[in-house]
Amino acid sequence: MSYQLPKFRHPDLPVNDLGYTRADYEGAISTLCAGCGHDSISGAIVRACHELSIEPHKIAKLSGIGCSSKAPTYFLGNSHGFNSVHGRMPSVVTGAALANRDMLYMGVSGDGDTASIGMGQFAHVARRNLNMVYIVMNNGCYGLTKGQDSATADRGSASKKGDANIYSAIDLCGTALQMGATFVARSFSGDKEQLIPLIKAAISHRGFALIDVVSPCVTFNNNTKSTKSYEFVREHAEATGTIDFVPMHNEITTEYQPGHAHEVTMHDGSSIRLYKMDESLNPFDRRSAVNVLEEHRSSGNILTGLIYMNLDSRDLHEVLETSQRPLNALDESDLCPGNKMLLNINASLR
């Protein structure tokens, strides 16, 4: 078993605007099972952050407990990290984000960490529209404790042990929509072509951005009767459409047929381009998103791609009108504005 990656890299690796290669965004060598979908998601996060030229020290990756929550060790080795209590990652992100709004907050969680022990936290962080990316590495089972069905396991799906799940599944995308999330997407760990642009769009989105990524557990839940196996997902995934992410400073050069594409500008000036869209879905309308999600669920298919985005999203900072500057950048004169200001405040309360 290899415990470290060789140090040599491809000599012609592309360099981003900061002069970094992909290798500068990698983490330690993974200790997850060979073939774990989580490693592919880690790879997609590395690619997205590299291609967006995000300074590694401007990213904080936070997680709870579980296989998924171990994963942040395996990407973004030069970024900040916080491995929190089971299901409590949203609280920690909330605290960090309120203290310093200049960072990119990348929450990484699993189906257990989110849909079971962390369900309450998940609901409220979505409701508050905290500006973060929330990635669920969703394998439908508790891999770290030997593969029991999780709350996202579909009814009737059976893991390696063979017993069909008797409970109804929690659909995290549907839940997030109900709770008021402003960016909801689903993807598959085995489809980086879709996942990478979705992560980029989620990073650019201001507000709570959920990406529920089906990520097969090769050890406990990749068998023929499972609905979260590589084979099943490949056969049953139906994309809402194709998404391209165009960073703000890139000139748009790719040509596309008018009428077949829909271009949307994000708050930071970058844009996403949607094409080959499912005609029944309007991803900017929550009711449409809920309907299409439900139609696919009832027909036994897995809807992937961008499901919903609120272009008028106002994140928690905007709603609370908090300080524009990080708290650690405020000095004494900012925090103690003086007697005159105090008198003004007091006068306003009379």
Binding site: M1, S2, Q4, L5, P6, K7, F8, R9, H10, P11, D12, L13, P14, R22, I29, S30, C33, A34, G35, C36, G37, D39, S40, S42, G43, S189, G190, K192, P216, V218, N222, Y230, E231, R234
Partner: protein, 590 residues
């Protein structure tokens, strides 16, 4: 692109860059692993089978393997392959019980070998164990050819040479030394079943410049002078020596001069320094012995006063290149440069010479007076006569001569058995999985970050006093181990089985050098541009799988694969496996 046919042994052979570059195709990673395992005798024998002279080559090889080493593509320096070979030779045990048995009952076929250099000795080693009666003729007092006459003892100690030459001569050969073969006809008249000519490129080239006649007693041809030193006819040289030429013979001449009394020894070469033919390490060794190299100086005339050589005039030039990169040396117009000299050594090249081969024997010669020799079979237009080594296609090096010798031996054996010499035996190939456990391999798959280790040298105070003191001391066992660990094990192949692949991307994600891509198939040109990392090294192949369930293919760029095995370690379905691929060129009798 079509799926790669890995059943064709040439595909994986090419992935083992060092072995592929070696004219004799020595299985380099195989013996390096044996060195790391302290199995020096085994490592030596792997070499001996392939290149016959491991101890000699471990000191003197031109090492075409090293520039080919994959490590050069991910860091600065290749594995010190050549010097590791010497580690095997230095530390081996007695090998006499491992040498092939020579049948006492001969097969009735008689073969004559003319010249006892590396090519002929290789032919002898191939044929003697098969029962051939072999007569070998040489004009020197002992075997070895140019390895004895031209390679100075401070690079190749005589004991090492004797040992490896004798392993072959002791195979019951009938060797006649100190005899000059003046007529090939006479040899053919002795009714040999086959004759092999391995007489090298024995004639040094000279420069006929003004003043040469008067300067003659102090002007020497490089290879003749080196031979004369080796055979102890020449015991000294003047204090000021000019060596003309920029190849390895020039380097041997200048360094030998330093040991024979030369104090102000200079190498003067027409070309720019970087374009000299000498190997970089030979230039370094000359420099470390205080020998300056004057480049861009074209010799013009010998200066003789009172009937005695005083020095030489040189014209300074600059290299100019036309659009096709063709070089011309253009005089700078400066005054001629005068350099004092007591002796001048001319090492500007050597050539073939066959005055002893009658032209009516059915051996065709081309317009350069070179025999017409088949590049595969080494047979001349007289089917009984074979050529190899420098005498076949002009001056090359020892390892090329050995490679020729192997092929010529195969041809002679086929010919003597009345078979078609063009039907070459296929290579002997063995491929086996290295998997020992879930995540365990039977080779050291971790990639060592160590930089290349330098071979220690004996102090100049010792080496310059005595031309027989070897300069290089060789790696000690510990350093040899560390250097061996730098080897990337390119012969442990990444083998892909598309039927097992579930397209989970684990191999793509883990590969440290971004070699693997799953994508839609296309033309090679197109694919090379849309892989995880651009595949711009066109000399390295793309490994393509058959279509996968998603109708994509697996594409692996072989260029900078570290053979670390992580793709196979991270593969949940063993679609990737690490398989050792041992490739051996077939020898005579196989």
């Amino acid at each position: 692109m079509k799926p790669t046919d890995t059943k064709n042994p040439e595909y994986f052979h090419k992935v083992v860059d060092c072995q592929y570059a070696c004219p004799a195709h020595t299985p380099v990673p195989e013996y390096i692993r044996l060195i790391a395992a302290e199995r020096y005798t085994d490592a030596y024998m792997v070499n001996w089978q392939s290149n016959v002279f491991p101890g000699i080559l471990g000191r003197t090889c031109d090492r075409p393997c090293e520039p080919a080493c994959r490590r050069v593509r991910v860091e600065e320096e290749p594995v010190a392959i050549c010097r590791l070979k010497r580690v095997a030779a230095d530390n081996k045990d007695d090998i006499s019980d491992r040498l092939p048995e020579i049948p006492s009952k001969k097969n009735g076929k008689r073969v004559a070998l003319i010249g006892a250099g590396p090519a002929s000795l290789t032919v002898a080693r191939g044929l003697a164990p098969l029962g051939y009666s072999i007569d070998i003729y040489d004009n020197q007092f002992a075997g070895g050819g140019m390895m004895r006459s031209q390679i100075p003892s401070f690079r190749l100690p005589i004991e090492v040479l004797d040992e490896e030459v004798n392993y072959v001569l002791d195979m019951g050969l009938n060797a006649t030394f100190d005899v000059q073969v003046d007529s090939l006809k006479e040899v053919l008249d002795k009714d040999y079943d086959a004759v092999f000519v391995g007489t090298g490129a024995p004639r040094g080239k000279g420069l006929n410049l003004p003043g040469l006649e008067d300067a003659m007693p102090n002007v020497h041809l490089g290879i003749e002078w080196l031979a004369s030193v080796a055979f102890e006819h020449t015991k000294s040289i003047g204090k000021r020596v000019l060596v003309l030429g920029g190849g390895n013979t020039a380097m041997d001449c200048c360094r030998t001069s330093r040991r024979m009394g030369g104090e102000d020894v200079r190498v003067v070469v027409r070309s720019p320094f970087d374009e000299m033919k000498a190997s970089p390490w030979e230039k370094e060794d000359a420099a470390s012995e205080g020998i300056p190299i004057y480049n861009n100086h074209v010799p013009k005339e010998f200066v003789v006063e009172d009937g005695k050589l005083k020095g030489m005039h040189f014209e300074k030039v600059e290299a100019h290149y036309d659009e096709e990169g063709k070089r011309t040396l253009v005089p700078t117009g400066e005054d001629l440069v005068f350099m004092e000299a007591d002796d001048v050594l001319m090492a500007i090249g050597q050539e073939n010479s066959f005055p002893w081969i009658e032209r009516d024997l059915g051996i065709e010669f081309d317009k350069w007076e070179m025999p017409v020799v088949d590049k595969v079979t080494f047979q001349s237009t007289n089917e009984r006569v074979f050529f190899g080594g420098d005498s076949a296609f002009g001056p090359e090096n020892i390892i090329t001569a050995v490679a020729h010798g192997h092929q010529a031996a195969v041809s002679i054996d086929l010919f003597c058995r009345g078979e078609d010499v063009l039907k070459r035996p296929p290579p002997i190939v063995n491929q086996s999985s290295q998997k020992m456990g879930v995540h365990e391999w039977s080779y050291d798959n971790a990639v060592a970050n160590d930089l290349r280790y330098a071979v220690p040298h004996a102090p100049l105070s010792k080496t310059l006093k005595n031309r027989k003191v070897e300069v290089e001391l060789g790696f000690d066992v510990d350093t040899g181990y560390k250097e061996a660990e730098r080897c990337l094990n390119c012969d442990v192949q990444t083998v892909f089985d598309e039927l097992r692949c579930i397209e989970c991307d684990a191999c793509v994600d883990i590969c440290p050098t971004d070699c693997i891509t799953f994508t839609n198939n296309g033309t090679e040109e197109d694919l090379r541009q849309r892989l995880e990392a651009p595949a711009n090294n066109l000399s390295q192949d793309l490994y393509i799988s058959a279509d996968l369930p998603t109708m994509r293919v697996m594409v692996k760029d072989e260029n900078v694969c570290l053979h670390c095995g992580l793709c196979a370690e991270r593969c949940p379905t063993t679609a990737w496996d690490m398989q050792k691929f041992l490739y051996n060129v077939s020898k005579a009798g196989a």
